[in-house]
Amino acid sequence: MHVLLVDDEQEFVSTLAERLAFRGIEADWVTDGEKALKKIRSRQYDVAVLDIKMPGISGIKLGEKIHEIKPEQKIIFCTGHGSSADYDAGAAQSGKEFYLAKPIKIDVLIEKMKEIQN
């Protein structure tokens, strides 16, 4: 599986990429929306994991732009605004989008990635 991680917190996103690599998931990471769009255009990702609150292009806006380029792109949104109820209930879901609340449990993230891919 090949994923793209987008988050303005470099420490977070780089560490997450490393941890995914331990689990056999190839992860590219960028820290802003512009770079993310370039990556999306340059190659195919199975899943894009986007932080919602980012300077410049917000995660939601970025998601829309990605879908303009690749309508079938699967996306998981991460948010620091999520609540425990969202977390427990798996948040609102719509086929090709998932929401996850920070801090993320890596097993849950991988599970959701697989789920959304299928």
Partner: protein, 575 residues
Amino acid sequence: MPFIQKITPAFWNHREKGWNTETEIYVYRRKWMMLILFISALTFIPLGILTAVFYQMSSEEILNELNEETKINSEDAALELNLFFEGYINNLGYISTLYSRKELTNQKTLQLIFQEFEKNYMGFVELDVLDEEGRILASTSGIHLSCLGNDLNHWLENVKKRKAFTSISLCGNKHNPHLYIGRYIENAEGEPFILRGTLNNLLLADLLGKFRLADIQDVFLSDSKRRLLTRSKYFGNPGKKVPYPFMEHLPDSGQITDKSLFISKNKFLIVGASHLNGTTFTVGVVITESQFLRLMSRTTSQIMYIMTPAAVMLLLFIIAFVSYAIDRLYLGDMQRNNYMEQLEQTDKLSSIGRLAAGVAHEVNNPLAIINEKAGLLQDLFTFVEEYKNDKRLMDTVDSIITAVERAGTITHRLLGFSRKMDSSVEECEPAQVIHDVIGFVKKEAEYKNISIDIDLDKNMPRIVTDRGKLQQILLNLTTNAFHAMDEGGHLEIKGTAGTKTQTISIKIKDDGCGISPENLKHIFDPFFTTKSKTGGTGLGLAICHGLIHDIKSSIDVESTVGVGTTFTITLPVKL
């Protein structure tokens, strides 16, 4: 319930601190009393004035009536006296027709005539025959003196002018009244002469005595100079002046308030007077205040019979009306206070929520980094053989991750508490929502060996509400119940259609440790927790409270320590 308690208004025993005092006072009872005093004053003062005016008018009317009555009485007395005097004047006339001047002027003959006459017509004590100059030609008394004295000329003039004249002269120091009746006789046979009879005083006294009935206390005769000619009960013996309170135009009547005249407790006298025709006499009659008081007592009784029940009824009505008004005011105030408390609670939740959201979001990002870094360490130790078996290192990393998870739970709860969730109102099946929620917590129930009974009324209607918020409320309440119960506990969830069908209620009942009455007051306050040692954030029920408010529902709680707690949510069928 005793009768007194039944009629006691709700505000009666309510006490609170006054605005300028530290001690508690009966605020509403004080208002009640003030209002009763004020309205009573407004009602009874005009009523009292009206009564006084009515009393005054009645007394004036009665006085006028008494005055009029006294005047009529004096006229009647004058009429009677006139008839009395005319009777004797006619007797003198009768004598003059029976006997000639010659016979009458003979002393012996006159004596015989008088004796004969006295047998049939009692009354005269003396009979005299006078010439036109007033010289006595013959007399039955043998003493040719009379009390007329200086008044003789005046008397003669009147007799000649009026042909018949009655007068009273007061004789001696004791002013004994002598009553003279004179008749001027003009016969064809000789010179004119005057026949004068002196009347027995007792006859007049008897006649006046007849007039003294119950109402009339006194009757007397006075002359043109207002001098008493007969004895009066109130004005004294003959010779004294009568203080008539009116002018000369008789008949008339009026009031005398001269204290020196009062006998017994009377404070005034009503005096009436009338002229006697053919004389210079005035007859006076007196009635006293007691007659007036007797008539007034009837009016007073009438006033009392009407006014007393009316005043009692009015007072009862005022008390009832004021009690009702103050009761409504009290209930209104209490309701407003409740709203204010609810508003304060909501406001408190809202401001704490906003603060919490800011903190939670800012903490979440560094927390995510710690989480990932700790996760990476764990991965490194897991995937690198060298550290794989170092239990101490693994435990340390695990405890960091556990602590981050705990911190994350708190920030998630804080965010959930404050988050302005987009309203997504939809029609849903309450039974389905309950089953979904139980689905989430089933694992935990199994883990703690807690049995769950779900009893749902088949008539429960579908409801239109925010499904997400309802789910969160139920989730928080069931999680709360789990924390309150020991292993092997029992949770009961009961859904029923409301009695008015426009609501449904969901009851969540546990048999856990229960909540003490002191804690029960604070369970919806943010950060209030009795589980701080085991990681309780004190936000679960505060969030519930906010969400309940959002979906226009209400929540009630009943709890007994050691028995369990029941939360009841009442939801509208349509939001």
